[in-house]
Symmetry: D3
Subunit: 317 residues, 6 copies
Amino acid sequence: MTDLVTFGETMLRLSPPGNERIESTSAFDVHAAGAESNVAVAANRLGADATWLSKLPDSPLGRRVVGELEQYGIDTEVVWSQTGRQGVYYLETGTSPRGTTVIYDREDAAVTTAEPTEFDAGLIKDAGIFFTSGITPALSETLRETTLTMLKTARNAGTTTAMDVNYREKLWSPAKARETLTTLFPGLDVLVIAARDAETILEYEGDPRQLAHQLGSQYDLETVIVTQGERGALAWHDNVVHDQDAYEAETVNPVGSGDAFTGAFLARRLAGDDVGRALEYGAATAALKRTLPGDVALVTASDVENILSERNVLIDR
Amino acid sequence: MTDLVTFGETMLRLSPPGNERIESTSAFDVHAAGAESNVAVAANRLGADATWLSKLPDSPLGRRVVGELEQYGIDTEVVWSQTGRQGVYYLETGTSPRGTTVIYDREDAAVTTAEPTEFDAGLIKDAGIFFTSGITPALSETLRETTLTMLKTARNAGTTTAMDVNYREKLWSPAKARETLTTLFPGLDVLVIAARDAETILEYEGDPRQLAHQLGSQYDLETVIVTQGERGALAWHDNVVHDQDAYEAETVNPVGSGDAFTGAFLARRLAGDDVGRALEYGAATAALKRTLPGDVALVTASDVENILSERNVLIDR
Amino acid sequence: MTDLVTFGETMLRLSPPGNERIESTSAFDVHAAGAESNVAVAANRLGADATWLSKLPDSPLGRRVVGELEQYGIDTEVVWSQTGRQGVYYLETGTSPRGTTVIYDREDAAVTTAEPTEFDAGLIKDAGIFFTSGITPALSETLRETTLTMLKTARNAGTTTAMDVNYREKLWSPAKARETLTTLFPGLDVLVIAARDAETILEYEGDPRQLAHQLGSQYDLETVIVTQGERGALAWHDNVVHDQDAYEAETVNPVGSGDAFTGAFLARRLAGDDVGRALEYGAATAALKRTLPGDVALVTASDVENILSERNVLIDR
Amino acid sequence: MTDLVTFGETMLRLSPPGNERIESTSAFDVHAAGAESNVAVAANRLGADATWLSKLPDSPLGRRVVGELEQYGIDTEVVWSQTGRQGVYYLETGTSPRGTTVIYDREDAAVTTAEPTEFDAGLIKDAGIFFTSGITPALSETLRETTLTMLKTARNAGTTTAMDVNYREKLWSPAKARETLTTLFPGLDVLVIAARDAETILEYEGDPRQLAHQLGSQYDLETVIVTQGERGALAWHDNVVHDQDAYEAETVNPVGSGDAFTGAFLARRLAGDDVGRALEYGAATAALKRTLPGDVALVTASDVENILSERNVLIDR
Amino acid sequence: MTDLVTFGETMLRLSPPGNERIESTSAFDVHAAGAESNVAVAANRLGADATWLSKLPDSPLGRRVVGELEQYGIDTEVVWSQTGRQGVYYLETGTSPRGTTVIYDREDAAVTTAEPTEFDAGLIKDAGIFFTSGITPALSETLRETTLTMLKTARNAGTTTAMDVNYREKLWSPAKARETLTTLFPGLDVLVIAARDAETILEYEGDPRQLAHQLGSQYDLETVIVTQGERGALAWHDNVVHDQDAYEAETVNPVGSGDAFTGAFLARRLAGDDVGRALEYGAATAALKRTLPGDVALVTASDVENILSERNVLIDR
Amino acid sequence: MTDLVTFGETMLRLSPPGNERIESTSAFDVHAAGAESNVAVAANRLGADATWLSKLPDSPLGRRVVGELEQYGIDTEVVWSQTGRQGVYYLETGTSPRGTTVIYDREDAAVTTAEPTEFDAGLIKDAGIFFTSGITPALSETLRETTLTMLKTARNAGTTTAMDVNYREKLWSPAKARETLTTLFPGLDVLVIAARDAETILEYEGDPRQLAHQLGSQYDLETVIVTQGERGALAWHDNVVHDQDAYEAETVNPVGSGDAFTGAFLARRLAGDDVGRALEYGAATAALKRTLPGDVALVTASDVENILSERNVLIDR
């Protein structure tokens, strides 16, 4: 039995070194990157057995993705496809006032044709938590259906279901995202949503605590987490709201810190921690992720616990 | 007036450093690469004014391609598209017995929607030579039509038309290539074909001299060049066959040497050289290309002429 | 007709990676760098057709410079010289309290022998603006004369003349700079001067607004811009002073931000913007330049306009 | 059940880039490298489920090793040790007449304390083949005992036992190696030995076919393979000797080609191939390994089969 | 005669590029690093003739260390050992809240067997100052004895003796450090101690000024320096306490800044500066060190003096 | 007393990585390179104490040169100049038929003003051998005089004088070289000359043995060495000619192999070897140099002796 099963697309991230522009770069650094594999890695690092499900082209590019994820310690269950592309995204790292920008090149990726019957449903049924993000149903009509089916499979088997909204404006409009995602919310136990995404797609402009309460009630959720970037996060659970400040970090790469938060939170919940304690782990793991160049939280539990115990050492020698 | 106008797709070539495998690389070197821009660069290096026509996405990736081509000194006339991808190919450099392999990721590239009306026909009409390769019509039905129209525009205006067959088995079947290309051959003045492509798509298995003669007669061509890799090349012209040995080269990267050959040959023909002399330039430029890491013949006329005059110096200091 | 013609030296910039010292580096990154080509690139990026005039050695080093500038999209009109060196400068990037330092190695550069008759005067006469910097006349007696002649050619043809003082203490003394530059000021329409340079070479220690007014009146200028680094800039025009704050930037490389400011300002003036609006473009382009590793403002108009419209996004995906 | 279980040390290989010397390098490339993990990777690539057993320090260095091995697709069962070092070796790549040299820094590695009871014996008992190399018992007295015990465990459970002699003169003397290894030979089913090692440690100077026969008879082995580098290999099995030529290869890095040979041979034997066919796979995999920069055979079955079917393509596009 | 002789271990520092983790890095940057050679380099840069004594393995790794130190300009007197390892440490550079961490791999280093008789005592006797750090006696019992003997040799010859406590918790316990070091303190003229080390090993929790006074009196020292990181340093000398603020620095790499401080202080004392002036040089050199990627203060006297004279220039051109 | 003193210019060698062209490179590798320092390094590696005399600009560039030479183990006696440039050369590494090319940028180098009185004549007088190359007098009229004076100083003091002709066609014409060098030959004991240089500047076209004899007699030399690249070398000494084949080498970088030959030959002569044995060392060291990326023979005596004893090992482990 696996503690956590996640499902979604993982792309190759191609990024110019340092602060070079895509327009003039002579090289790209290569990483495997995707919200659901990021969540699996973070959870695994915090002690959960984690498996990532996906569909990839049967090519060196697809194997490149799986190799990197296995390197990070998670298990992978991949449908190897003879058709469909390997999704790619180009990441240009800016500093203020030049933002970090992303060019997606993920259309017709193999994963967009993934159907539930291609995967071993037993993996989802036996898991403690099944997780996917709001990106997955945005990728194709097929994936919308697959996501819905997998969530149902999980719930029927007693597996906790979790989703991070992760709105991407380069993938779909707010209206389309709202329409699709709100059909999925009723099947969820745990919902993670950024306050800015709630504003954009749900047109919610009020207090985040109120937002969490409202979403929890409306969709009969067990836990609602509202993240607010540097202002921290809060979790609504059993009608109680838990607040969590963000840990300050000198940021090397912010991409993936939300996934690190969610993965660590879920891992600690699986390990039996209460919501408040799990939030602390989530926040500390997110802060550590910000100090790392890739998109994944390549941390250890003791790295995280050093932060929680405020045992910060500038140089440990 | 431009001496040479070429039309076709130029991709981003992503290649792992050295002999690394795609499956395990942590970086890709980036180059702009395409048969028709390669031909334009080689021709420009040998003294011709060369312009490359194409259609690219209006994005940092498309600008990355144009920037590199401009760096090499050619002119570019690009239709900037709001739709369509930037074509990419992954190149893994092997040594024997592991071959160099290519993964194309060029479907739905912006260029596949290029129509003749998007370009200034005057550029083609005023050119000395119009060139495209057999890759272009393989990319889409639209490009097949566009190629045909451009060749007609050129011929009607008295512009010499030239094509290199460049068969790519990862793009289309031999039968489909034959069907399409043989409808284009009657509109050509100059045809370049590798002996192995003649074997594959024309099912021609005889003597290359005979092949040249036969193609020239059948399609009423002015010049037919048959290339045979390390065994050199020959040109049929005015019913005479000119033989040309290949120059020996210690190969750093063989990709693009055929384009270097063709570009140099066309440039020297434009400059008034006879076919035999132009062949020598072609062969020497192809040999130099093999000593260079990118796909383009970043040479000077005097580099080439040193080879022709057998003035080889191991270290020039 | 070109909108903007600039004239001056562009060097190869050799810089150790990261914060390495020249004394112990094992590699140099290579860039083409020069005030006037920087201005041309920034102007081109903001919509102006820009041509850079210069003289370079007919060597791979000279071609290296031109190739990079063409890559950035500007036109180049270069006199290829059989004598004279390629100017080089070594740049060591420090952090406080170790300053960034420059070692010039530009004596006897080919450009120091450039005479007006070597260039097509028509390019200057047909331009909207002719620009050079105060560095050019510092490089040789010949260049002092050439600069004077070109400014006269421009003015006589109705081309707006512009200069950025750009005082370099490693090239000449304040007294020598003042003597030379003040003979050129009367031929200018637009003068850009850093407040600290006014202090150093003009021994002006008062209010920058007063400085602008005084210079404008004394030399009968149309526009005077006084830049003050992080404190912004101001422009005196039609007897009115326009103030412009600097945009905050997380600096990757400050070199070239002044040139970016000037190039963007001139481009927007050419496009018909009033002085105040052009100043905003200048300031925003300068801020973006600071986020880029090279010396040129490799930006797009929309990058700049996002800043002007305060549409800053941390991660755009 | 795993098809192949291997046991041994895997080190970090630190190698200067290209042909730099250790004495003056400013960087090391990092790879995980060890005979037994190399064998596991090659076997896995040819279709076997392969698991590598070892003991590593519980540190980022130990995790670095496991991460890379997992990336290559094998399973790892590691005892994480709170004491003992991570073994390291420095590899300097020479060209003739400067040989490639190795500096071992593997004393007191955690693995030298590995005892049989630390591992799950079931993994060995359930495996098709258990493999270790002659390096393992050279590393410590404890490992000599552990190797002996594991071989007994395997044999008693009906698991085929295999060993590659892999003599390392920097680890022990020929006499000591002979004394130790010949006590292990009687427990083996498959013995792989280089002809030069037989000469060095067994003082055998005759015909390799005779050597294979003699070793097979003396130690009651099922299969004896004698490798002879570029002259190929032979296998004695059922009293028949099978000869296998080496495939020619343009060598990028020869290290690990013997392990690739053995891994592929064992995988194909597990898959039911006869000895002659398995030898062909071994030889082709060894040739491919030589074209790769790391120590492992990062190949696919189809890469190997292309060689066996003589379908060599210079550029596959 | 040498001005300064230092004695201690210098290791190879292996560090992943940028902020990569050891666990996933594909390369290590290589530097020679050790407290006593760092001190020698800093002193040499500030004008002292400095010689570093040590014992290294007679291997490319040992020569790698000496080569780099000679590159920095100091003299080296090395006993080349046929046994013993080259000490190594792995450095992972973090940003807050992920600390910079060090993994030592220095056990059984050749230097741990260094005995006084292996070195030319004349070098120590003729020196102005003999320096070692508290790390040296922590490395082996032999080195504890050797340190004691060398300090005696120095003192008897009238050479000033100096030590920096440099407590390393990964090498020994506070109690063991206290026991060993306090036996050495009576042989010292100059003692440098970080306030945090005094707290850890001497369990001193009071005012640093009081600490300096107390240590000076108790052990009959000539000079006591207490360093307090960003809060600066103080020196007790002739019963007077001199305070020195730290210079602000934008830190690239903090490792080695304490050694830079000590080396510069000693060099300026040797040159005749009073304690207060020497402290200023120490603080300025430490600040410059923080701007450099390696562990050594690769500065010039004029770099330091620019800071002392507050002649800071952002870009010097 | 130093065994060998050499005098000449050492430049910074800037070379694009791999086989990149200067025209399109984005980086240069940096090395210190000069015939006389190369000779000193090779001699030092073979056991001689070697000191290199020169004059360099007092700048980070000049210190970069000295730092690298000290790293290689030689002593340096440098006159630090406040005027004059640091000589630079750009090296582009070709493969056949594209030659390796060099662009010198060494005019007005500080060394061109070096006068004998700036150096400690005692160093030359006390040396066993004084060496310079034919490049030195080619660099300036001053250096021609300085070379002559130094040779006289050496000879008068009984120091053996040696010169390698090293004709550089990019520095001077054959006629000018002949005129200058033949005035220096009478002051020499040992003359090294490439057969091709004898052909070019002495217009000698006959047998190399005869050449050696003729030069020895004409100029009253003690030893004449004629080198013939891959065909080996010969030495005329005491009226006997010693032949030496070249050792075959897989060449990584041929630059500097002649200097390696000369340095090793001189070192072994200083150590008392006869001419034949010293030639063997020279040839073996030259072959090793060819396997190294830089210009210097970073070898050990045992590396060389392994070749002499034909103890070649492909992989030493």
